[in-house]
Symmetry: C2
Subunit: 342 residues, 2 copies
Amino acid sequence: MITIAVDAMGGDHAPVPEVSGAVQAASTQDVNILLVGKEQVLQAELKKFDGWKKLPIRIVNATEVVTMEDNPAKALRTKRDSSMRVAARLVRDGEAQGWISAGNTGAVMAISKTVLGMIPGVDRPALAQAFPTIKGKPAVLVDVGANVDSSAQMLAQFAVMGEIYSRLVFHTESPSVGILSIGEEDHKGNELTKSAASLMKALPLNFVGNVEGRDLYTGLTDVIVCDGFIGNVALKVSEGLVDVIKHMLKESLESTIASKIGYVLSRQAFKDFRKRMDYSEYGGAPLLGVKGVVIICHGRSNDNAIRNAIRVATESATEHVNDRIEIEIQRWQASSTNDPEV
Amino acid sequence: MITIAVDAMGGDHAPVPEVSGAVQAASTQDVNILLVGKEQVLQAELKKFDGWKKLPIRIVNATEVVTMEDNPAKALRTKRDSSMRVAARLVRDGEAQGWISAGNTGAVMAISKTVLGMIPGVDRPALAQAFPTIKGKPAVLVDVGANVDSSAQMLAQFAVMGEIYSRLVFHTESPSVGILSIGEEDHKGNELTKSAASLMKALPLNFVGNVEGRDLYTGLTDVIVCDGFIGNVALKVSEGLVDVIKHMLKESLESTIASKIGYVLSRQAFKDFRKRMDYSEYGGAPLLGVKGVVIICHGRSNDNAIRNAIRVATESATEHVNDRIEIEIQRWQASSTNDPEV
């Protein structure tokens, strides 16, 4: 059975959603959980759940906590017994097959790279975020913030990794892969997208070329590749806009008696709608390219998000996403070395 | 009185919304309109409006039309009697104080730059898009697609131009200016945002530093500066997301009888909501930095969008936005030349 280490101290509301999400995962999924953090704190939190002792959950003590304000490089150097670092070590040492954290994203990335190392052939790790689309099935945006000022070579590697993630974890058959740009025609874009597109054309992918911002949510493209600066802006603009729309819609709906009654009658519909738009259903963003499964959750993650992140981590481990990445990246590099034209 | 030239042949549904919008503007605003395009077509369209002859509208004939599929550079070279080019010439020759178009954006930009020239001291023109915020007043994003791979110097110029536009056209007192990045802290961002931020700090602006994607719609920052690739992605992701949300919400609301009734009762609220989210209320995006007022509208513009674009063009001309840009850019350049540290 797969074992997943959960950094129980990282998120904004830690350890509450972490522990609750872990209990839910251990009750409903086929997974062992290692809850990593301050032993006494976690014991007290776990006691709130009747019968937790029968669940496959074990606490692993870690005396230090990386905060959201910590500088990632400094946290890496100085907090050697942080819950993050201990969780990463459990993966490195084979005691867990993956780890998840809702903590400081920069620190999770730095610790993962250092403790686990990179998959041979991958230059830089990338964060892949799944999100809801109009078609119902999720699309994957990669990179959403692990790197800025990416090279074309990096973007092509993100494409390979994102395609494998979509295929193995979301079970998309032959996922279509596009590059986020400012027009569908090949000549539209910037220097980076143009050179990345020409690299990606040569890969054994279902490459569909440029995808515009407005097509992110249509679900027509399964994997959309971009530099982490762009991906982060696209994701955060979306988050902000959803908040604004909720706010404005509520204001409009409360403005007259008729619409207030209408709002009450439609409550279930709004609930369904919110669930469909809810990122937490998609279970965090994997940091692809490091040797080991790492899932990064939003700092504001609730127990549902944690539970889903554990599910994605388990599935990534079961499906051997990282082995697949290593094989396909090396196959690609071998073929480009053999090809006299490249 | 201000005269505005309207490219009546450019938009997806030309000349219907162009002519209708022009008639509405001429009826309600203090402005003369020159409707530019194929004379017979425009005459036939104008005849649909009773009493148009009493309005300050005149047709200016142009025999050619730039289509959405035309290559901008080619349209510039070959279609010398296009409605765009004739409209731009009217501005150059002082017969109009500004022009608007819902046509091929690339062609409008190329024609504007060539026919009107640049304001001295401005390296490249920038498209400034106003959009709705939670605070009710619009914010301005600049550049939303006139340039890719911008330099830090260009971004600083966009800041100066955007601030003047916000101040003079939206009457924002001392507009706050931020740079779109991936974290609020100074050290977060890419090479471009970091060097642009250090230039912008030295400018006589109410500069607030980095702004995250999720703060675009809060209305806390009045002018948000970015490279045109990023701005275009941010804008189009937003457009796409609004479409998806409308679609999903409608689906959810139609799923049960109670929610269907609720939807009917809330219809007015949804209408208000749509109006608040409607970009066309903000009247197109000015192309800042060229010598002359140019407002670029969405290809799908309706008559309301055209009418508002004419209003924004008139206001930009009345408030001498371009003179102000020329003065402030030159003042800044003079001060940085005198400053031995720069």
